[in-house]
């Protein structure tokens, strides 16, 4: 009886899920070499582990760096990914920067800087959004000032009132309200 049940189920939904992410626009079956050339010609370019670049690197494609770069990297409209093997000693300017390797130098992104677990940044970050994962290393300053910095002034004053009922309802807010005020 159970077997019958199982035999019916898989026919419908689960089958496509593992295969789904690799479907390329090209009609040919997804051979890995094919995919690599596609990414090279189209969206994303890789700089391999053994590559060392000294100087200025700029472009208009998303870029993943696994090698060493010293100097300056400028991808103002694109995403720069520093892979786990990537080592950068450079000033970095990009739309978004994802760091899984090591960066020494200032990082400026117009959208987001994301330092992932084991990623390392030694330098100042300027970006409207910054995410630093738990195991990441970061030393420097983060400048998240936005063009419209006005809501910042209103938020903290308004938010506590809103946060209070939410916190009371929250299961994590364990210890009850408390405290005696000592100072003036």
């Amino acid at each position: 009886m159970w077997k019958r049940d199982e035999s019916v189920k898989p026919a419908a939904p689960p089958a496509p899920t593992p295969a789904a992410p690799v479907t390329p626009a090209v009609s040919v079956p997804a051979a890995s070499s094919e995919r690599r050339t596609q990414t090279l010609q189209g969206e994303n370019v890789n700089i391999g582990k053994s590559v060392v670049i000294k100087g200025e690197l700029s472009g208009s494609e998303d870029l993943t760096i696994e090698g060493n770069v010293e100097g300056r990297i400028e991808l103002k409209e694109n995403i720069l990914t520093i892979g786990p093997n990537g080592k950068i000693r450079a000033e970095v300017f990009a739309k978004a920067v994802i760091v899984l390797g090591e960066v020494t130098g200032n990082v400026t992104a117009s959208e987001k800087v994301d330092i992932r677990d084991n990623g390392s940044v030694d330098g100042d970050i300027t970006s409207p959004r910054v995410a630093i994962a738990e195991g990441a290393h970061f030393r420097g300053s983060v400048d998240m000032q936005r063009a419209g910095a006005k809501p910042a002034a209103a938020k903290p004053a308004a938010a506590p009132a809103a946060a209070a009922p939410a916190a009371a309802a929250s299961p994590t807010a364990a210890p009850p309200a408390q405290t005696q005020k000592v100072g003036a």
Partner: protein, 225 residues
């Protein structure tokens, strides 16, 4: 045949449902114990003071906590610099040169005097002996701009646990205390009078004794003469 099998399954659907539902209770009861969050009274006051500034400059003396950086950045649109004092203390302990900590803290910070709007000192002073704590307090006082704010936590009980604490901001009124290993425990519980004397040049704006045995103190720098 397949149709009849499906019909049977539909008929006995309640069995199928029970079977499908079995994993659900396991998913509801998470294996990881949720961390407790502790109320904080001083954080929202600190934020309120910073909110009056355009793009304030903050100095965070704790270890890097990504969510804190995001929180302060988003709330204040600030420039935040993380200077992990605990790692400095650890380095000195490991090299057995803790006697050099006072001199180290006198020249530790590169920021210009009076250039910082807010300092998140957390509980850094608890891990220092009197001279080093005094040196650090003096440096921090020097960094603050007039009317700038400093948030400090001070343990009110002695502890032999060799742990530092990461203070993770949950929201304006709650923090998570996340301990991590240290080479030595807190040095001693400072008396309120000692703390106030240490921060000569600052005045106590608020002081809260929390049930977690932490005294939260918010200091403001005196206005420029």
């Amino acid at each position: 045949m397949a149709d009849s099998a499906r019909t049977m399954t539909d008929w006995l659907g309640f069995l199928g449902n029970r079977r499908a539902a079995e994993p659900a209770p396991a998913a509801v009861t998470p294996s990881t114990k949720p961390e407790l969050s502790h109320p904080t009274k001083s954080l929202q006051k600190f934020l309120r003071l910073q909110a009056g500034q355009d793009n304030p400059v903050l100095l965070d003396l704790g270890p890097v906590v990504g969510s804190n950086v995001t929180f302060f950045g988003e709330q204040l649109g600030c420039r935040i610099r993380v200077e992990d004092v605990a790692s400095d203390i650890e380095a000195h302990i490991k090299k057995d040169i803790t006697d050099q900590l006072p001199a180290f803290f006198r020249s530790r910070f590169v920021q210009a005097p009076g250039s910082v709007d807010g300092i998140l000192c957390w509980d850094a002073l608890d891990y220092l002996d009197r001279n080093a704590a005094q040196a650090l307090a003096a440096s921090l006082t020097n960094l603050l701009r007039p009317e700038g704010a400093l948030l400090g936590f001070f343990s009110t009980t002695e502890s032999r646990n060799a742990v530092y604490t990461k203070y993770v901001v949950v929201d304006h009124q709650h923090l998570r205390y996340r301990p991590y290993p240290a080479s030595r425990p807190r040095q001693r519980a400072l008396l309120t009078g000692d703390i106030i004397r240490m921060f000569k040049g600052l005045r106590v704006s608020d002081s809260f004794l929390m049930k977690s045995n932490v005294r939260e103190m918010l200091f403001r720098k005196n206005p420029a003469p």
